[in-house]
């Protein structure tokens, strides 16, 4: 087998002396297997067979290295078969790409396909003149022009070269017209500050500064991640050539009619006089200096040997839509967003709320939402509150009445969604999307419906004692939320203190979809030292702890939550959730960072 023998050979054309299909080839098991096949007389198979042998003998880098390793563990015939199949697939793909091979009814043989490929490449190159055959030039697969175009298109950006002393725009690429809607001519020679948002001018000035008078370079220490102030005066060369820059700035773009759908209009700042819009750009690049004699003279002839320093950057448009909330948080008029702590106290109120409820945000922040709910609705809203805390789904409330500043009630309908911290898996707050429902008819039905519900549930929920009384309701209403929150917190602490069980499916229905490994809740750090045993067990532990905390339910009578109860079987394992947390982290690191090699975290490649 050529595995041992031919490491040194580079490629070579069919070497008549080296290849030998007879059994006389030393050390090769190939002929013993292949001989019977050769007698079949199948042209293609024989060809590919011979090819395989050539392949054996003409190794190169890449996958063949691995194949060499493998041959010690697998029968050679398997390897050969795989290689043959691969080659055949490649030939088929090639045939599919070549127009000359398309209309053929029957499958072409390998040699013909290859020949046609050669012809095709020749025509590709002939159609575009290429006058250079000088071998000192470095060829490239893609014409540089095209590469540049592709790059800028992918990056949605343009090249910008700006002089450092006066911020004069020396050069931009064509693509600037697509992004800023100014032509190259309009920009070249102008001062950059004419186009940058006035509040960002200082920022840009600092970036352009290349002298030591601005000792603001901060570096991050690779080992510790802490910033290090450059104590020593920075060498000029460090600042002039090669020093990297990366910053964001807002630039004007002209209000030319055109495709604006993918234009970020985050920061529509209309200044008093000009009504320009600004777009945010991420500029990355580096400083570069040229001898000034090379550039067009701009009057800088006093110093013959002065270097002109420039900032060369690519400015990319920020993809503002990619991380924005999707359609389900689509905000329409007469809607506003609020955020509450788990006990229902407002911690964030969208300014649009004011037109609906009359209160300014600061007037209701910190108060419990229950103080504004109509007493008839308290029951169902408390129920929904409980549900929201325990579910990952969006909970829709029915219509309910919200007391406005002026005493009048407005009908709202809300969508509640609890936010769970991805790391701790605990609910941190509830986001509420509130919609105004207009029409008096609703209130009538609501009153009838909710009072009935009230009577039914009054017995079952003893924690809202004084619901039916008048003024007393307002005083106790806030405590409803607190109580519901406390239920949840108790659940958490219960799960944390008692060891979790080995539930069958770690990632049950309570988990989100997606390749998530859910670390469990673990606040106390004391048991981190004791690493868990097998990671699979700890996976199930962690999954259970996570599943339990997000799906734990009291006996609220919700039928769907009984399923979760059965998941959290009170059988115990010896691992606490903290050990499980540690084990999960370790296994995460092992698989992610070192691809199977065991190692400590120091191996994490942090090329700062």
């Amino acid at each position: 087998m050529s595995a041992g023998g031919n490491d040194g050979t580079a490629t070579r054309p069919a070497d008549p002396t080296a290849e030998e299909e007879g059994p006389s080839q030393a050390g090769s098991s190939l002929p013993a297997v292949e001989l019977p096949r050769k007698r079949k007389g199948d042209v293609e198979e024989r060809q590919s067979l011979d090819f395989q042998m050539d392949d054996d003998l003409s190794r190169s880098e890449g996958e063949d290295q691995q194949v060499k390793m493998k041959c010690f563990r697998e029968p050679h015939s398997q390897i050969e078969k795989r290689r043959r199949d691969k080659m055949n697939n490649l030939i088929d793909e090639l045939a599919a790409m070549i127009p000359a091979c398309q209309p053929m009814a029957r499958k072409l043989d390998k040699l013909t396909v290859l020949r046609k490929a050669v012809q095709h490449l020749k025509t590709l190159k002939a159609g575009t003149s290429s006058a250079f055959t000088d071998t000192t030039y470095k060829p490239s697969i893609l014409p540089h022009d095209d590469l540049r175009q592709l790059l800028l298109r992918a990056a949605d950006g343009f090249l910008l070269v700006v002089s450092c002393d006066r911020a004069k725009i020396l050069f931009t690429s064509e693509s600037v017209s697509k992004i800023l809607h100014f032509s190259r001519l309009e920009l070249t020679g102008q001062s950059l500050f004419d186009f940058v948002h006035h509040k960002d001018i200082n920022k840009v000035k600092e970036q352009l500064a290349s002298s030591e008078l601005y000792p603001r370079q901060r570096l991050i220490d690779a080992a510790t991640g802490v910033q290090v102030q450059a104590d020593s005066p920075v060498r000029p060369s460090h600042l002039t050539t090669g020093a990297r820059r990366s910053f964001f700035c807002r630039m004007k773009h002209s209000r030319v009619a055109g495709k604006h759908e993918d234009k970020p209009s985050l920061l529509i700042t209309s200044k008093k006089k000009d009504t320009y819009k600004y777009c945010t750009l991420h500029c990355t690049g580096y400083m570069r200096s040229w001898p000034s004699s090379q550039l067009d003279s701009e009057g800088d002839t006093e110093k013959e040997t002065s270097n002109l320093t420039c900032l060369v950057t690519v400015c990319r448009l920020l993809p503002h839509t990619s991380h924005q909330p999707s359609k389900d948080v689509n905000v329409k008029p007469a809607e506003f967003v609020t955020r509450c702590a788990i006990d229902g106290k407002f911690t964030f109120v969208d300014q649009r709320a004011t037109t609906v409820i009359g209160y300014l945000p600061q007037e209701i922040l910190g108060t419990s939402c229950y103080e504004y709910f109509h007493q008839d609705d308290l029951q169902q809203l408390a129920e929904k509150h409980r549900q929201a805390l325990r579910s990952k789904e969006k909970i829709e409330t029915q219509c309910y009445k919200f007391k406005t500043k002026y005493g009048v009630y407005v009908s709202l309908q809300s969508q509640w969604f609890s936010f769970t911290n991805p790391w701790t898996k605990e609910v941190e707050f509830i986001v509420s999307l509130n919609r105004v429902i207009s029409g008096p008819a609703h209130t009538k039905d609501e009153e009838a419906g909710s009072s009935k519900a009230l009577q039914e549930d009054a017995k079952q929920i003893p924690i809202i004692p004084s619901l039916s009384s008048g003024v007393g309701t307002m005083i106790y209403a806030g405590s409803i939320g607190t109580q519901i929150a406390n239920e949840l917190i108790d659940t958490y602490s219960r799960m944390n203190s008692s060891p979790s069980s080995g539930a069958p499916s770690p990632f049950g229905p309570a988990q989100e979809k997606g390749p998530l490994v859910s670390p469990p809740t673990s606040r106390s750090a004391s048991s981190r030292e004791e690493a868990a045993g097998s990671s699979s067990q700890s996976h199930s532990d962690s999954g259970t702890a996570a599943g339990a905390s997000s799906a734990a339910s009291e006996s609220t009578g919700e039928p769907s939550q009984l399923d979760f109860d059965s998941m959290v079987v009170p059988g115990l394992s010896s691992f606490s959730s903290d050990e499980a947390a540690m084990a999960v982290i370790m296994s995460l690191l092992e698989t992610d960072v070192n691809m199977g090699q065991s190692g400590d975290f120091g191996d994490l490649h942090w090329p700062f």
């Binding site: 490239s140 540089h144 590469l147 509040k199 910053f247 690049g285 911690t347 991805p422």
Partner: protein, 371 residues
């Protein structure tokens, strides 16, 4: 009889040899037509030749569909000398050569500025084209990688996300829909930056941004054009409008540098223990969540733009680049334990304070009243 058999065998052996020679010649012809350096060409095996030919054809098909200008169409595969630093070249008689050289310099400069490489992905995940600086980031050369499928080189847990990014509807393709995601790719680079064997590869986190592209031809081909940049961030920071912070894994602040005061109004000590989710606009919760998840799973992330609330009222638009690193401070209570992880964030403030009198969150009101 045996002599006859022997003779027949010898004849068939000769025939086989001839066939092989012919085939190798054709492979040689093919590889010579590919724009590769001779040293690279010498080491190519036959599957690689086909793989690269396929890529070459596909790349050209891709570009054919563009409404290229005359200069683009007339320029073939370019041969240009690459010089470091890009200093001026002597004036050439050949105008075309100058253009080409400039183009090559420019595109190399672009690649250097971008600090990343260009990748063209088919909707099945085949890496149709990679710019040649990919070796700097992955340790594998352009010729080794082109034509292969990206799923062979990326972390299995990210495949789902990659697949969903590759899914393109016709409408999305036509308007050049954007893509922005983070994925882990194999890197055969050692710490010192040399290429090692793929078997000892580590995972490298790449931030991929780009858009869809289609070319109309005999068969419409749609693909993704992506620039792939490794995280983490650039190592130089400038002081204005940027601050760094450290967080525990649940995104609560554990440390913050002084600059945050000028930008957000909070003193660093005020932020300790507070969750970043509390300090941001509610509508950006999902953006932050996605960022957080990326951090937990892939250890590095770039958030999109989101709003951070300013003390006392209003908000600013920011973007954060973050990574998971071992915690800076030595663990006090657990000597000898594995270092706990923490999140390091560099936050760029993009805008000024918007609507400074608007109070949206609870603590904005508190600070105002306590003044």
């Amino acid at each position: 009889m045996t002599a006859d058999k022997e003779k027949r065998r010898a004849i068939s052996r000769e025939a086989a040899r001839r066939r092989r020679r012919v085939e190798s010649d054709v492979f040689g012809d093919l590889s010579r037509l590919l724009p590769l350096q001779p040293s690279v060409r010498a080491h190519l095996d036959k599957p690689s030749v086909i793989r690269l030919t396929l890529s070459y054809i596909r790349t050209h098909t891709l570009l054919k569909g563009r409404t290229g200008t005359k200069t683009e169409v007339s320029h073939a595969v370019k041969y240009a000398e690459v010089k470091e630093g890009g200093e001026d070249r002597p004036e050439c008689d050949e105008e075309k050569e100058t253009e080409e050289v400039e183009a090559s310099d420019e595109s190399n400069m672009y690649l250097r500025i971008l600090e990343g490489f260009l990748m063209v992905l088919s909707t099945e995940g085949d890496m149709i084209f990679l710019s040649d600086n990919v070796s700097k980031y992955m340790g594998l050369t352009q010729t080794e990688l082109m034509g292969h499928n990206i799923f062979e080189f990326t972390h299995p847990c990210d495949h789902e996300e990659i697949r969903s990014n590759l899914r393109l509807t016709a409408e999305e393709v036509w308007r050049g829909a954007k893509r922005d995601f983070v994925m882990r790719i194999k890197s055969a680079l050692t710490h010192r930056g040399r290429s090692a064997n793929l078997k000892s590869a580590t995972w490298k986190v790449l931030h991929c941004q780009g858009r869809a592209k289609v070319c109309v031809g005999p068969s419409s081909v749609s693909c993704l054009l992506l620039t792939c940049q490794p995280l983490p961030l650039s190592h130089t920071l400038l002081s204005t409008h940027t601050f760094t912070s450290q967080h525990s894994m649940d995104m609560r602040f554990t440390h913050c540098d002084q600059r945050v005061t000028a930008l957000l109004g909070y003193g660093p000590e005020e932020l300790l223990g507070r969750s970043i989710y509390d300090l941001c606009h509610t509508l950006d919760t999902s953006c932050l969540t996605k960022n957080h998840l990326n951090l937990c799973l892939k250890t590095q992330s770039v958030s999109g733009q989101y709003r951070m609330l300013v003390k006392g009222g209003g908000y600013v638009w920011v973007e954060s680049h973050s990574a998971v690193i071992p915690s800076v401070r030595p663990s006090k209570s657990r000597p000898g334990a594995h270092q706990p992880l923490c999140i390091l964030c560099v936050t760029y403030v993009l805008s000024g304070v918007e609507q400074p009198s608007l109070q949206l969150s609870l603590d904005q009101t508190v600070h105002r009243y306590l003044r």
